[in-house]
Symmetry: C2
Subunit: 127 residues, 2 copies
DNA sequence: GCAAGCCGCTTGCAATTGCAAGCACTTGCG
DNA sequence: CGCAAGTGCTTGCAATTGCAAGCGGCTTGC
């Protein structure tokens, strides 16, 4: 698990806030945190807890998970892994259905790999 | 976002630790936290940070997300929603493949609903 | 000019987090 | 018996988190 880089996190929060064109005080009010603290967080002087991150995310209207990932609390779910996990853990599927979906997904992955290999081969010809 | 219930979280951690048949000190050492602190966490006297939770989870060989959910940091991803989201967000799939998977998944869901309705009908006959 | 409002930031402080040192107890061995 | 090793917990403390009070700077309207 990556160590939280407060500076990077703060930068990201500031970027998002500026993109939303709101001031520190406005975001702080919306998020329900003190504005000096938010300012400190943006400048990387503090490492906010998950609860504060969730509040800031709500104020920014982005998912809390986005900030958790930035903060190093959560790992980004890689695309293919996310699908495999989600299907495996879905309690609404029967075993047969689960297996079928996983096989189809694997077939698509193979298909995409073959296409990528083909692309590489063409590139080699050109090079 | 639910407020963290330190007592419930602590109970869960203790349960998992006892299920694994390891002592407070053993888990603390494996997890890289102090054993008195772990003891306090288990008794609901402290609210550990996400970082500590991740360490404890690693020591227990469970996913950090499990403890995050218990701690109220993260919300549980509902089964069917997780699959839909994962497929939608998978960058390794082409549009065609994505659509196909979503349709198959939907078909399975319909199939399962039909079977559930059938079960209910049989139950009504018996009742 | 002044007052009011906004801006982001400084500073001191109370509460909390996580740890180190150590306690009392139990168990197994010589 | 005494000792060593293990058990979970108590306690005091340093560091950190998040806040309230307030600063200086800027803009706007009178």
């Amino acid at each position: 698990m990556a160590k939280i880089d407060a500076a990077k996190l703060g930068e990201y929060i500031r970027e998002q806030r500026m993109a939303a064109e709101i001031s520190v005080r406005q975001l702080a009010r919306t998020a329900g945190v003190s504005n000096p603290y938010l300012s400190q967080v943006e400048r990387g002087l503090r490492r906010p807890s998950a609860e504060i991150l969730a509040r800031i995310a709500a104020g920014l209207r982005i998912s809390a998970e986005t900030l958790y990932v930035r903060a190093g609390i959560l790992e980004e779910r890689e695309g293919d892994r996310a699908v495999l996990l989600a299907i495996s853990e879905d309690p609404t599927l029967t075993d047969r259905q689960r297996r079928a979906l996983l096989e189809i997904y694997a077939a698509f992955q193979t298909e995409n790999s073959a296409q990528q290999a083909e692309s590489h081969t063409e590139e080699e010809h050109l090079a």
